[in-house]
């Protein structure tokens, strides 16, 4: 292969349209006769709907119809939950509330009007009479027998209890040197907050009897199936298109009420229907992330070896299950041991209903919580034993490159945690930093150095362990002109796989990069697919494309060999030619394509045309890992934390395009840092959302972040032939604990042991106010 594309910094194919404002997001689609929806939403966290008055609203100009939950009951299916957990309680989740509302923002009615202004005006005239009920907000109280119930018919607020136990607890108990440390960690609720909110256009065409849906989604194929079921439409007549999607971070890995309602209304009217979420709606009615309380018991020996970990997780699921709501905290249990060989583990996870919006997948989805737990565990023990955070990690890492099964039952694909740690220590000049810290402390300045050495579970995943299949489909079609069309069942929305997939195919076929065009996100174009989430797109979807390309190559080699009178195995693809390695027999790529389509002299048994599909079923997850060092400065007077340096060494397997990998890491870091220092999505004791506008949400801004120094190690995974692991979530997973560990480290002169996120100035200031610790 003459043109080297894989591993190179190749500019994105996506960008020319996006930098000129010529991409099309859902709200940009021009359709004739469009109707607009506005939803009437609950202002109460928990209330009985006594009556809904529609007369005034119906009189408003431009109003076509108004529907309530009763109108949809039995005519539009429930919102699906795909999580499979033993004993899971799944309450009915109608698209519009029926009789009772259970969180602020729950849709109660929908107005259909000729434009968005008229729809909003009429929605404001809908009068709903509520009987407010006590709300379930606090998780500790939700489990108490006296608690009000989110769903009375379910008997309690417990959606599920799951236990994961492994290893030799008897040995831990028998060891007299083992000490126990207890700590509660709160992993606060967050808003995913993609810059584009959700939005959907549904267009039912009565003549053709087809339903076309444009949705800002990560999972067009799964959504197609679910919308067909919900609306009772023959699935073969449903087409879902994910156009340009303006970010998602897990929040669009779902099937939402508004998507179902838009389809229902379009079927009623035989006209296209549009709904674009406002930012206020986005903050209250798009899924939230995280929200766990983790009670830890850490068993460790005086030498720093952690021998056992018990964790009782309370996971706030919100009022109803969205697609994967209950599954998220189970990933925390699975990954709770991180990169450490801790011989005994016990995790009990209680998923709780509360009167809040559902939590679900937000960048990392359960693994940032796990990493936060285990990385705080390491620092807590190090602090107790006065060990350096580096030392405690080295003590607890498994030896590099050995296949081990952890007490959780998880076995990682590759590991060499020592290597990434060593690299980040060099990159950050760690020892020098420690000396600087000591110097500054003497001057009353508080520098903090925080470490995190994470491992994550990615490339979701083997179908046996996924709720709705974990395979991915890739199609490669060489057109009669020799241009190449690639179809992927994944649905990237900013990650840049139009570029990396084209790199794979162009390099393999030896054709120009510009000759390859990648499509995704249209269920009528792409035969089957799962979608983009769980850092799977390149590792699973890219592999499917790579393997489909191998099929194309085998067929083209056979055609060329037949024509040239040589063996197919001798053919190589390079410089737009299919030829022998020594170049002695050669055909132009386009000539071989012509053989396939003109079909005059095909070898026997070979079908005309050049299109191949491959559905890749990954044999395992992948387990990227890395080591991060955060350096913060704490203002001794105000408690303000500022980020001074950030060093990240990540091992995401083979790197196809280093520029894209850096972009993924940077964005992930910003979100992880945001959680550690600023972001929290807050409900008050009555279940009112206090962070309901962007003004109240501390999304990281450019000036709050520092320059990120990134580097990589490349340990290829054996799980797929590309050796790619996935990188979409790594930055988020690794950074949150690194920052918190750094702030606690900065506060050592004040004896700080733990603070819950976000580490806003007030919290830090309260520690500073206590004055220097006696024994610091």
């Amino acid at each position: 292969m003459s043109v080297k594309l894989l591993g190179e910094r190749i500019k994105r194919k996506e960008d020319p349209r996006l930098i000129q404002g010529r991409g099309h997001y859902v709200d940009d689609l021009p359709l004739c006769n469009m109707l607009y929806l506005a939803f009437v939403r609950s202002p109460h966290a928990h209330a009985q709907i006594k009556s809904i008055q529609l007369e005034e609203a119906r009189k408003m100009p431009g109003v076509g119809a108004i529907y309530t939950g009763k109108d949809l009951d039995g005519r539009l299916g429930l919102i699906p939950c795909a999580a499979g957990i033993e004993g899971l309680k799944i309450p009915d989740h109608p698209c519009l509330a029926l009789g009772r509302v259970r969180y602020v923002g729950e849709p109660v009615a929908v107005v259909v009007a000729n434009n968005r202004y008229q729809a909003a005006d009429a929605a404001a005239k809908v009068e709903v009479d509520y009987n407010a009920l006590p709300a379930v907000v606090d998780m500790d109280r939700a489990v108490a027998p006296s608690s009000p119930l989110v769903h009375e018919s379910l008997g309690d607020n417990m959606a599920f209890v799951a236990k994961l136990e492994g290893g030799d607890w008897k040995a831990v108990e028998a060891d007299a040197s083992v000490k126990v440390l207890k700590q509660r960690l709160v992993n606060q609720r967050l808003a995913p907050l993609s810059m584009e909110t959700r939005g959907v256009v549904a267009s039912y065409s009565p003549g053709e009897d087809t339903l076309t849906v444009w949705s800002s989604t990560q999972i067009p194929h799964l959504l197609k199936t679910q919308l067909a079921v919900m609306t009772g439409t023959d699935e073969a007549r449903v087409r879902v298109i994910a156009p340009e999607v303006g970010g998602a971070f897990g929040s669009k890995l779902n099937v939402y009420a508004e998507e179902g309602v838009a389809c229902f209304v379009s079927r009623q009217f035989g006209q296209p229907v549009k709904w674009i979420e406002s930012r206020r709606e986005n903050l209250m009615a798009t899924i939230h992330g995280r929200d766990q309380i983790d009670d830890l018991e850490i068993y460790y020996r005086p030498d720093g070896k952690v021998v056992g970990l018990k964790c009782r997780i309370l996971a706030d699921l919100g009022a109803y299950h969205q697609l994967l709501t209950p599954a998220i905290p189970t990933l925390t249990a699975l990954m709770i041991l991180g990169s450490y060989n801790i011989p005994a583990v016990f995790v009990e996870t209680k998923g709780l209903f509360t009167n809040k919006m559902a939590t679900d997948a937000y960048r990392g989805a359960g693994r940032p919580e796990a990493t936060y737990i285990i990385e705080r565990v390491m620092d807590l023990v190090a602090l107790e034993l006065k060990l350096d955070p580096v030392e405690i990690r080295l003590k607890n890492f498994p030896p590099p490159g050995k296949d081990i099964v952890l007490a959780t039952g998880v076995s990682y694909d590759t590991d060499n945690y020592q290597k990434t740690l060593k690299k980040v220590l060099t990159l950050s000049s760690y020892k020098k930093l420690r000396r600087e810290q000591a110097r500054l402390r003497k001057k009353g300045k508080y520098l903090g150095i925080g470490l995190s050495t994470y491992v994550e579970i990615c490339a979701m995943g083997p179908s046996s362990r996924m709720p709705a299949g974990g395979w991915e489909s890739g199609t490669v079609r060489v057109e009669p002109t020799g241009k190449v069309t690639v179809l992927s069942g994944t649905s990237p929305h900013g990650q840049g796989e139009e570029t990396s997939f084209a790199q794979i195919v162009a390099e393999e076929l030896g054709v120009p990069y510009d000759d390859v065009t990648v499509y995704h996100g249209d269920t009528n174009q792409v035969p089957m697919g799962i979608g983009t989430f769980g850092s799977r797109t390149t590792a699973v979807g890219g592999t499917a494309i790579y393997l489909a390309t191998q099929r194309i190559k085998r067929k083209m080699a056979r055609l060329a060999a037949h024509k040239l009178g040589v063996k197919p195995g001798e053919m190589v693809f390079r410089d737009g030619k299919v030829e022998r390695e020594d170049g002695s027999k050669s055909m132009k790529f386009a000539e071989v394509v012509g053989e396939a389509y003109f079909a005059k002299q095909l070898p026997s048994g070979v079908e005309p045309g050049l299109v191949e599909n491959f559905v890749f079923e990954p044999p395992n997850y992948t387990y990227p890992f890395g080591a991060h060092v955060a350096v913060v400065e704490v203002d001794g007077e105000t408690g303000e934390v500022s980020l001074r340096n950030y060093y990240a060494v990540d091992d995401c397997g083979r790197i196809l395009n280093p520029m894209l990998v850096d972009g993924q890491i940077h964005g992930g870091l910003a979100q992880g840092i945001g959680q550690a220092l600023w972001e929290e999505h807050v409900y008050d004791e009555n279940g009112q959302l206090l962070t309901g506008t962007l003004m109240d949400c501390a999304v990281p801004k450019a000036h709050q972040l520092c320059w990120f120094e990134t580097a990589n190690t490349e340990t290829r995974t054996p799980v797929n032939p590309l050796g790619v692991k996935g990188v979409g979530e790594a930055g988020t997973i690794g950074s949150t604990p690194a920052i918190v560990n750094a702030v606690i480290d900065a506060l050592q002169p004040f004896g700080a042991r733990h603070l819950d996120m976000p580490l806003k100035p007030e919290k830090v200031w309260r520690i500073l106010k206590q004055g220097p610790a006696q024994a610091a």
């Binding site: 996006l18 406002s278 990650q495 972040l705």
Partner: protein, 158 residues
Amino acid sequence: MNIRVRINGAAREDEVEPRLLLVHYLRDVAGLTGTHIGCETSICGACTVLMNGEAVKSCTLLAVQADGAEITTIEGLTAEDGRLHPLQQGFWEEHGLQCGFCTPGMILAAHQLLSRNPRPSRSEIRRALEGNLCRCTGYQHIVKAIEWAAEKMGGSTS
């Protein structure tokens, strides 16, 4: 109400409702959907356009307030012969975008910065983007994209 505006050099005259937001006017009336709506509260900056050369948030201006004004949207930055503006090129070269939703606003905010300060430092660039949120990039590549453009523009804006 009747308004006259020049958008990307072309004169328009339209009858608009007094309450119509400028961003809806640009998108729904003028058909220029490159300007995005991210928050309707002038915090995220996705709707940033240039009005008489100054960066404004078009989601919290009324169309009638633009009467008589010269508006530049992202669509107006590309030259007639298709040449990209150095800022557009810089965002492409330096991977200054991922999902692209904030990008038009980012580019126009950066346009204002470079017209006032042709050689900004990295921290000046970061400060100038205070009114523009990006959830994808962590901003570092955006800073590099603007540096790239400043370099190409040779310290003077076009």
